[in-house]
């Protein structure tokens, strides 16, 4: 009780520095938790986000480019697959299902992807989860009809019955006049429920729509950009890897998708480390601010500390009270840090969803919620030992003035 009273009153006596220091700690704690949560969740989510496919077959290129292009709809297509190669893949007994995709156009930055309707009728994009229609129906092959992902529909303001003309190319230039618009008019016939996958950002049309779009090379009209593949068993992946990647030289078989994505995170691991280092440095500086704020107030506290000693307070109690004060400031900062963390992560989640369609959960619990506040409090407590030693050494007699 005495310790709590000493800490509480001291915090109140130095309210301004308590608030400022706690706020700086909250920023440090929030940043640390956000960086950690973001990199952990992003890695987990991207590695898990295979769209329900085991592999991607595409033109000779890097596996990562293929996966990013075909599954995440982010990268440029490395080239096309000839119809014969697609047919051979589909006929391979190791293959359970193949869905071709074709791309090359966008509508106001949202990628237009040509595919077949079995992408939506037969396929599970995650365990037990199929694409569902929020309204309307699926497009019909042979018609200029479009099915819109939930996020794209929301951002484009599309409803069933909306019409649009695709723009050529995968990217939409910020200057409207730099974009080349096709003459074909597509009608929105259906809007998908949110799936929290990259598919939410896609404008889906029949594959023939892309293949035959005016301005596209008629010589490649039967080609597709990539094939999304489901295998009958995991061992089949090794055989196809051998067939396409080691024996062949014109196609790339990206398998397994999770491992390919893990390579991406391994490649950008240095960036993670830099972010984490910055977050730790901010935490160290914040802990230093605890040290500075308490240390600087020691002259003003000398008399109070001497009075406490004169009342019989042992040095150990004084030392503990100062360390507990530093820890309490850190605990307040860590608690406020959760607000900073949720705000930052929420902002990051909005950005990640807008760019990739992948959903980051700001409120998903993680061990970082325990160890980051604990580390912050530990750092502040360690910093608090410096002024605590100064308090420990206060000369009682000379601090109890005046003398008679």
């Amino acid at each position: 009780m005495t310790l709590a009273l000493l800490v509480r009153r001291s915090l109140r006596q130095h309210l301004l520095s308590t608030i400022v220091t706690a706020l700086s700690l909250s920023l440090a704690g929030g940043l640390l938790m956000t960086v950690w949560s973001l990199k952990t969740q992003a890695r987990q989510t991207f590695e898990r986000m295979d769209g329900g496919w085991d592999a991607v077959l595409g033109a000779r290129s890097s596996k990562l480019q293929l996966v990013l292009n075909a599954v995440f709809h982010l990268e440029a297509s490395p080239g096309n697959i000839r119809p014969a190669d697609l047919a051979a893949l589909a006929a391979n007994p190791a293959v359970k299902a193949v869905v071709p995709i074709a791309m090359g156009d966008n509508y106001q930055g949202f990628r237009i992807v040509g595919t077949t309707t079995n992408h939506f009728t037969d396929h599970q994009f995650a365990e037990g989860q199929q694409f569902k229609l929020r309204e309307g129906r699926l497009f019909e092959d042979g018609y200029r009809e479009a099915l819109i992902g939930a996020f794209a529909a929301e951002k484009l303001g599309f409803q069933v019955g909306s019409e649009f003309k695709p723009y050529h190319g995968l990217n939409y230039a910020s200057k409207a006049s730099d974009n080349v618009q096709h003459d074909e008019v597509y009608v929105v016939v259906g809007i998908l429920e949110p799936s929290n996958t990259p598919a939410d950002r896609v404008v889906w049309i029949p594959i023939a729509g892309i293949q035959n779009m005016a301005g596209h090379d008629p010589a490649t009209a039967a080609d597709v950009s990539a094939a999304l593949v489901q295998l009958r068993d995991p061992a089949a992946g090794f055989r196809l890897d051998q067939l396409y990647n080691k024996q062949g030289d014109k196609l790339t078989f990206a398998w397994p998708i999770g491992t390919v994505m893990a390579q991406l995170f391994d490649k950008i691991g240095w960036f993670d480390n830099v972010l984490t280092l910055v977050a730790w440095l901010v935490a160290l500086v914040a802990a230093g601010s605890v040290l500075a704020s308490i240390y600087n107030s020691m002259s003003a506290r000398r008399r109070d500390l001497a009075i406490l000693r004169a009342l019989g307070a042992r040095r150990r109690i004084i030392f503990t009270a100062i360390v507990a004060e530093a820890s309490t400031i850190a605990a307040i900062g860590a608690a406020l840090g959760f607000l900073v963390h949720f705000a930052l992560l929420f902002g990051a989640a909005v950005l990640v969803r807008a760019q990739t369609g992948v959903v980051i959960e700001p409120f998903q619990p993680g061990w970082v919620w325990l160890w980051a506040p604990a580390a912050l409090i530990g750092l502040a407590a360690a910093a608090g030992t410096v002024p605590a030693f100064k308090a420990y050494d206060v000369d009682v007699a000379s601090s109890l003035s005046p003398e008679s």
């Binding site: 009780m1 005495t2 000693r309 009342l311 019989g312 040095r315 007699a397 109890l400 008679s404």
Partner: protein, 233 residues
């Protein structure tokens, strides 16, 4: 030997301080001093005679160069700092000239802290003590919200909080006007009597000293404070 009734027994107490030029200056040289349990004694002495140093030595805030200080069965000299803190918390109440109240704490908290390190915090006793000194309606006031007379009453309540056997009062009325000084002194004596505490008060105020039966002169007790020694301080 300690007499059966003696609470405080001092023998051959010496304390010197080193000046910046490296010279040792004796401040306390008291061959003998006794105080019986429940006794009230005022020590007279002008400023600079080592009154505060003497009380700090008894309270264990300072350590002597030599000599013996016994409070009850406990020999203070030679105890560890922790041991001296313990004696101070359990046996001694200290009243200062400048009150030395903790400004960031309420009256009630100041009194509670007077007992926290010894007998343990007892809010009901702290409240009773504040009522006893006439501050029953000031529990949650901060020292700056009180008059100087009221602040000294809080200091008295705090000194009594741990039921001390010995109360040391260092110029307790030095910052008070005559009326408040008389009132404060009466309060200190009354509360000491009620608690059964011995009182050792040092002052140079003749009116205050006149209220005591025994008023030894510190200058007579302390060989170091005689004119030759004083002139060196």
């Amino acid at each position: 030997m300690l007499t059966p009734m003696a609470l405080l027994e001092i023998r051959g107490l010496k304390k010197s301080f080193r000046s910046p030029d490296g010279q040792l200056h004796p401040v306390i040289d008291i061959p003998s001093f006794d105080l019986a349990a429940g006794q009230a004694v005022a020590l007279a002495g002008p400023s600079g005679t080592g009154k505060t140093t003497f009380l700090h030595l008894i309270a264990g805030i300072l350590t002597p160069d030599s000599g013996s200080i016994r409070i009850g069965d406990d020999e203070i000299v030679g105890l560890t700092e922790h041991g001296r803190d313990r004696i101070r918390a359990l046996r001694i109440g200290y009243i200062f000239q400048s009150f030395n109240l903790l400004q960031g704490f309420t009256c009630l908290e100041n009194v509670l802290l007077g007992m926290s390190f010894g007998t343990g915090a007892d809010p009901s006793r702290a409240e009773a003590l504040l009522r006893r000194v006439g501050l029953g309606d000031r529990f949650h006031h901060f020292p700056r919200q009180l008059s100087t007379g009221q602040q000294q009453r809080v200091a008295v309540a705090r000194a009594m909080a741990g039921k001390p056997q010995l109360v040391l009062a260092d110029e307790p009325t030095g910052n008070l006007d005559p009326a408040n000084a008389r009132e404060a002194l009466a309060l200190i004596r009354e509360t000491c009597t009620e608690n059964g505490s011995a009182l050792l008060l040092v002052s140079h105020d003749r009116e205050i000293l006149g209220a005591f039966d025994q008023v030894p002169s510190l200058a007579d007790l302390n060989k170091a404070s005689r004119p030759t020694a004083l002139s060196r301080l």
